[in-house]
Symmetry: C2
Subunit: 354 residues, 2 copies
């Protein structure tokens, strides 16, 4: 069976402001010294098991040009432009319907566009196992990440009995508080929900038909119009009529016969500026320094320089990001507060800066 | 007797890099929100006792244009351009010789160009007392500052018996270590050496003749040439031949009949970026914020913004200075290390940045 990949690339990525902006969200940025963007890495690491012609990028209409520029090997018709943001369930239904027009059936790898993978061989082997399970009648398969610490920012997957390479999913749970996260970790029965899914087009469509029939019907109409002159109009009408819903809530938490494969391949969701020091090499003082930077007595500092010289003196646990029109200086304890700055700028109508 | 002022404005002010540069040192910067530069404030506060035509600015030849721009009321011929830096003794001798050509005798106030005064009325009253003492036969008078804490970065003046408004100086001492500074403070007999002097032209010339005869002779030749077509040539020859020497070491530590007046007028030498929060109003979280700045959970932070937005999030005890080509992020514990950055840039021949 053909293996296709659906890369979800509609996200906004506010947490990497001021590098990420409305016009260029995180998945289109390079946060590593090699200069490759997150989405380029995402597609490249799939090449051992997916052909470029079978890679689909679902993104906001505003970003199709960025996708074309950064991924010139992806066929134009595989860039699926959402006219508006409707979370992951409509996104996946749209892609499944389009793929359903090309192949009678196919395996779909559904993957975020803005995560990093440290061990790509292990990652590919994990995906292969998931593909085999999906091909062999397992309804829906999700990749769970073996937790390293009691993270409270992710949802968890509670798994049960082993069935060959996969485990039965008992339930999906929302982001826990710290005591609960610690309990999950201690139990040995919970994985992080990474948002990576593997299933057959026929399986996800059957589940959509049962659990989200409105979206299923709309997606079918979009799929029928795909490749015809009326497509843009049909897409605009049907997609904007979708309610905004995650596939986790709409499908995974309700469907039966759900499986997970524990993955342990150096996954990183690159969720805030703190990730930069994790995903890059740091110096002896635990600094990550990129750009034209002079340091004196600087420790545990991340500097993403821009066009100007940055002098960091005596700094500790600090993130410095220089861009042409905005400079960010942020304590590592406050990386989530970047959103508050964006909120202030929105209130002030300074849209050119966000 | 006429009162003249000699403003020493040749300094480099590395400690305010990157705002201060070779091309625009500290005395020509505004570090307060009112936009006035240090040298403009210095001249303005003298206006109650000195006429603009009697204010002399001794500066490096590179800065005469800046002086003209910032002090348009000072006569062109009162801008004394040193062809090279030779510390304060040659600077003062040059000015004394020039003033000696205009007035048979006059009182000279010798003042740094880059300090701030909080209580200008008290300052003027203190200077008036010094002027009276100098006119009434006191050889050399210096303004001492009543210390507020055991500062190790200043020289001290040990004073003795009271003589009317002034006190006899026992000796000048170099910058002490901390235990010594504490002893000085506890003794009640030491003042900070502020580098402000008051004397008659005839007095300082007599002392120069006795204690620094080479500089005295050279200064006389410069004074004789002043206003003649050959002046520039004479100045270049004589001034560059001077040895570099401070008036403290060359005169004050050796002369007899030296007096001091304790001053308590909110003096601040504005010696590093730390001064900015002292000399400006701060907000309830002890931040000084100037420019286009957004803050979230920011405390004890100084931000001198430039043309771009600065976002400071969760910062503590930090100094952020944004300029067109350099950004400084410096812990308040490390303000002296700005010089190390400049040293690194010098080594790299990046003279455009220093």
């Amino acid at each position: 069976m053909n293996i296709t990949a659906v890369i979800m690339a509609g996200g906004r990525g506010e947490r990497f402001w001021p590098k990420s902006r409305n016009a260029s969200p995180k998945q289109f940025l390079s946060l590593t010294k090699d200069g490759e963007t997150m989405i380029q890495k995402t597609v490249k690491r799939l090449m051992p098991i997916v052909k470029a012609e079978d890679v689909y990028i679902v993104t906001n209409a505003a970003y199709t040009e960025l996708v074309r520029e950064q991924l010139p090997d992806i066929p134009e018709e595989n860039i699926l432009a959402e006219p508006c943001a409707r979370n992951t369930a409509p996104c996946i239904a749209f892609a499944a319907a389009v793929i359903g027009r090309k192949y009678e059936d196919a395996v779909m790898l559904v993957l975020p566009s803005d995560h990093l993978i440290g061990y790509e061989d292990i990652y590919i082997n994990t995906l292969k196992k998931a593909v085999r399970a999906a091909e062999n009648g397992k309804n829906l398969v999700t990749i769970g990440i073996t937790p390293e610490y009691p993270e409270t920012g992710y949802g968890y997957i509670n798994f049960g009995a082993e069935k060959g390479d996969v485990y039965e999913v008992e339930r999906f749970v929302e982001k826990p508080d710290l005591p609960t996260a610690k309990k999950y970790l201690a139990s040995g029965k919970y994985l992080w929900n990474s948002g990576m899914f593997v299933w057959k087009v026929s399986s996800i469509m059957a589940n959509l038909r049962e659990l989200m029939p409105d979206i299923y019907e709309g997606a079918l109409r979009i799929g029928e119009a795909f490749g015809t002159p009326g497509f843009t109009e049909v897409l605009a009408k049907e997609f904007s009529a979708f309610r905004s819903e995650s596939v986790d809530f709409g499908i995974m938490e309700k469907a039966d016969n759900i499986y997970t494969i524990p993955g342990s391949f150096g996954w990183d969701d690159v969720g805030s500026w703190l990730a930069v020091e994790r995903i890059n090499e740091t110096d002896d003082d635990h600094n990550f320094i990129n750009g034209d930077v002079v340091t004196v007595d600087t420790k545990r500092t991340t500097v993403c320089g821009g066009k100007r010289l940055v002098a960091a003196i005596g700094t500790r646990d600090l993130i410095i990001v220089d861009t042409d029109d905005v400079l960010l200086v942020c304590s590592k304890n406050n990386t989530q507060d970047v959103k508050k700055v964006i909120a202030q700028l929105k209130e002030q109508n300074r849209t050119e800066l966000i």
